[in-house]
Point group: C2
Chain length 249, copies 2
């Protein structure tokens, strides 16, 4: 297989974060980082994230853009019992399928929360687009759902994490991207020219440069990523050799 042909086992994901509270700064998102880490750990490439407000047209447009591009789209937020929770209806509209109260979701909620009346607001949380599978929230809340390649999860981080943990075994996974980090003990600007030469000599490997500062002053982590362990090791060795050369000057 030519080096430029992506292997068939690449699985991709997009993410849609839904909620005025993230865009106003009132709530700090913690789901992007958690989904990103989880996807990397299981071999799915998270390629894009969008954050949109609680506006149906915005949700539908972003969802349709993302679901046509990536293997999976994960959404967080907007599946609670109040009027501002419009994710389920927006997903149904994006897929052009009907949506109604789903008896499976009602049964799940009644079993989990026997003391709480299934009033109009809570029934809203049981509205599921036709054809979707439920996503279990464990004992933590109403279910999410999975329709087509779109997986709808809660916005509360602990519930989102519970849902995602249950979903992971069911996802198609690709070959994991392997990663090595080399601490440069140098400023980015002092090694950038030489690092570019290494990157150009190893085009199939991703090399990222991330400055940080600690008690020793400005420093840089060089992160080398590849699905191929031999290419990864060749690039890592080249980075180490390059750093030794720069320091010997």
């Amino acid at each position: 297989m030519p080096a430029h042909t992506p292997p068939a086992e690449i699985v991709t994901a997009g993410m849609l974060v839904i909620g005025d509270e993230i865009l106003s700064g009132r709530t700090k998102d913690r789901n992007i980082g958690h989904l990103a880490e989880t996807m990397t750990a299981v071999g799915i490439d998270l390629r894009e994230v969008r954050v949109v407000a609680d506006i149906e047209e915005e949700i539908v447009a972003a969802l349709n853009a993302l679901r046509s591009r990536y293997s999976y789209v994960f959404t967080t937020g907007g599946i609670g019992p109040t009027h501002d929770d419009i994710t389920a209806d927006s997903v149904a509209r994006a897929f052009q399928v009907p949506i109604d109260v789903d008896p499976r979701a009602v049964a799940m909620m009644e079993a989990r929360f026997p003391g709480r009346p299934m009033n109009e607001a809570r029934l809203r949380m049981a509205r599921i687009p036709e054809g979707a599978e439920l996503v279990d929230a464990g004992g933590m809340g109403a279910p999410g759902f999975w329709i087509g390649n779109v997986i709808v999860m809660a916005g509360v981080p602990s519930i989102m994490q519970t849902m995602l943990a249950g979903l992971v075994p069911k996802l198609a996974k690709g070959a994991k991207i392997l990663s090595e980090t080399v601490r440069a003990d140098a400023r980015e600007g002092d090694i950038g020219t030489e690092l570019r030469a290494v990157a150009e000599a190893h085009p199939d490997v991703m090399i990222g440069s991330y400055p940080f500062t600690d008690e020793g002053g400005p420093n840089t982590n060089l992160v080398i990523r590849s699905r191929d362990p031999m290419r990864l090791e060749a690039a890592r060795a080249a980075v180490v050799t390059m750093l030794a050369g720069v320091k010997a000057r």
Copy 2:
């Protein structure tokens, strides 16, 4: 002016976060929350955020989508000295303008960092699209820049915050969205039906419902937002009355 006409003083923003390290989960973004808070504080509506990888086509496409929709677009990330820092070149391509080493940026960097050689890597940080104004990083690093309605900032949070603080006085601002938070002392599902009625009676006011849990158990914050202080107060009072009614049942 009819109620549905947006007042002229609405200023909007989009944000583009650039970097493989956010999408891989290696780095947790802290700039979205800071920009969101800052925009809210000065009366600019942050409407959408996108996170994309270090891929020129992705950056250009996202930038063009956002800059056509919002008053301002803020980018973070990808302006360092290494080969994976491609934001400046991507912005130049999006605007279809030339880009080259900018003597103003070189002078700024030489003045700030007299001990550091302006090698090829550091000169890369001085590449600025034609027609852009520089954005000062204080003593913290190379400059960002401002071209058209796009403002390019560093990804390192402390540098991004310094740049943004310097930019705020220069931005056009709209009328601030005022906000009141009412703690419901109730579960979301127990007030959702009644809250919808309040929201429908106050269509010009945004009412958000945010569940949380503390030592008292599940609870809900109701956040009422409006640019109009009288409408805000009317909706707040209606929420308080609604809550009292629910509790008296």
